[in-house]
């Protein structure tokens, strides 16, 4: 059986997760679960935290260090060929990437990338371009990972976008997920086809809540953030209860 790597996300990625970064043992019953409690419970010594911003990094780093846990931190952000192009048309060329820091220098570079994306490339959300990444890139410090959902492959094949990535400066790793969504196999086929003999593929699981039963709480949280209701969530494909720690075990 292939190993599946958990890609954790905390509530610091606004609207994306109901997991917190509270210290182990400090979460209150019947409130949100802490990633650190779950890690302790499952006796894990190392974890990937893939956030949408740097807001939770300090807290995650401090608590991980105090509890002798190895934190591998990454940022999921939007990438395109030219981040200064800001128009409705330019949105069709944007897709998600994940950049993971391998060491302290990697964190410094990741901070620069994120700051630039949030300052120069911002258009509805932070965005970076491949030219900037090429200039700052060093394989010793950073890893480029292509997420399963909202990647260029997903957007081009299923959303009719025209995202053209430039991987000339690095060797990206592609992720495969299975969350029981009807289109998972289509993306997986595309990833396999694209990577065949060229790029490494790993199996991952995006984790936004602890148990499958927490999906209702997660959905409620998403609706509140989206100013919609459970009766009419108005969010495409919000159906799977598999984005949880329970589903990886």
């Amino acid at each position: 059986m292939k190993e599946t790597i958990g890609f954790w996300k905390s509530h610091y990625s606004i609207g994306r997760s109901i997991l917190t970064l509270e210290k182990p043992g400090e979460s209150k019953p019947h409130l949100s679960d802490s990633i650190f409690d779950i890690l302790k419970e499952s006796d894990q010594k190392k974890f990937f935290l893939i956030e949408d911003s740097f807001s939770g990094f300090l807290q995650a780093h401090t608590i991980a260090k105090d509890n002798k846990l190895q934190l591998i931190f990454g940022i999921r952000l939007t990438a395109t060929d030219n981040m200064l192009e800001k128009s409705e048309e330019a949105l069709n060329k944007r897709s998600k990437i994940v950049i993971i820091a391998k060491n302290k220098e990697g964190i410094n570079k990741l901070m620069r990338i994120y700051s630039t994306a949030a300052k120069d490339g911002f258009y509805y959300e932070p965005c970076i371009d491949f030219k900037f990444l090429k200039n700052i890139w060093n394989d010793n410090d950073l890893s480029l990972v292509i997420p399963f959902y909202d990647s260029f492959l997903h957007k081009n094949c299923l959303n009719g976008k025209s995202c053209i990535p430039d991987f000339g400066f690095c060797k990206p790793t592609f992720t495969i997920e299975d969350n029981n969504l009807p289109f998972d196999f289509l993306i997986e086929n595309r990833v396999n086809e694209y990577c065949s003999g060229k790029f490494e593929m790993i199996h991952t699981k995006s984790i936004y809540y602890k148990f499958k039963k927490d999906f209702l709480a997660y959905m409620t949280f998403k609706c509140i953030n989206n100013r919609t209701t459970l009766e009419k969530p108005n969010m495409d494909h919000l159906s799977s209860n598999e984005f949880c720690w329970e589903a990886i075990n």
């Binding site: 009807p182 959905m219 009766e231 969530p233």
Partner: protein
């Protein structure tokens, strides 16, 4: 030369399906289908139909909007409602045995209900996705001027069309029915079986416009 096209194929079986639900949530955690209508069509001929009212043992209530739009009647439910365990075998049999599953907006709604229904009853639903013909997606493709090409993957194509929104382009059943000049009982739409009847008439128009 075009004998392979569905519009000429008399042997293929189509299962047309439509659910009426408590609300618009895409998960059984907060939504359940209370009506499921199906038409079994072989070639151009409707050979059978089903109209199930499903009575769930659940605390979930129908939303005011859904009750009004779908004309939900508690009395009809009391009289005709059947437990999900009783209706599922037929739904599964029809879906599994059909060559194609046809419906309007299946990729963004009904497919999720099929998924949860199958999963709830302990079955895998994944084989259904490849069989889907979504008339909403195909109609969008036609209106956008990008009709399906046989060299494309039909499921991917339909996902692309269904996720594309263009201002002023309407592809709901009523709009399509009226544009195609289809004679139909438009006042009773949102009854699953009435919807399906119109859906079938629309498919019979669309299939001449796409190379499937």
């Amino acid at each position: 030369m075009d004998d392979h096209l569905l519009r000429f194929d008399k042997k293929k079986t189509f299962c047309f399906i439509d659910f009426e639900t408590l609300n618009l949530c895409l998960n059984f955690n907060h939504n359940l289908p209370w009506q499921c209508a199906m038409l079994k069509v072989k070639g151009n001929e409707t050979v059978d139909s089903k109209d199930f009212y499903i009575k769930w043992d659940s605390d979930l209530k129908i939303s005011e909007d859904a009750a009004r739009i779908t004309r939900y009647s508690q009395l009809t439910m009391e009289q005709r409602g059947l437990p999900p365990e009783d209706v599922f075998p037929t739904i599964r049999d029809w879906l599994d045995s059909a060559d194609y599953i046809v419906g309007h907006n299946l990729f963004h709604f009904d497919l999720y209900l099929m998924k949860d229904f199958y999963n709830l009853m302990g079955y895998n639903y994944r084989h259904l996705t490849r069989k889907i013909i979504d008339t909403n997606s195909l109609a969008k493709g036609i209106k956008f001027g990008t009709p399906y090409k046989p060299s494309d993957n039909l499921t991917e194509y339909q996902y692309r069309m269904s996720s594309t929104v263009k201002k002023g382009v309407k592809t709901n059943l009523t709009a399509l029915g009226k544009e195609y000049g289809i004679d139909h009982d438009y006042d009773n739409l949102h009854n699953a079986l009435v919807d399906l009847d119109l859906n079938l008439k629309i498919w019979n128009k669309i299939k001449w416009q796409v190379e499937i």
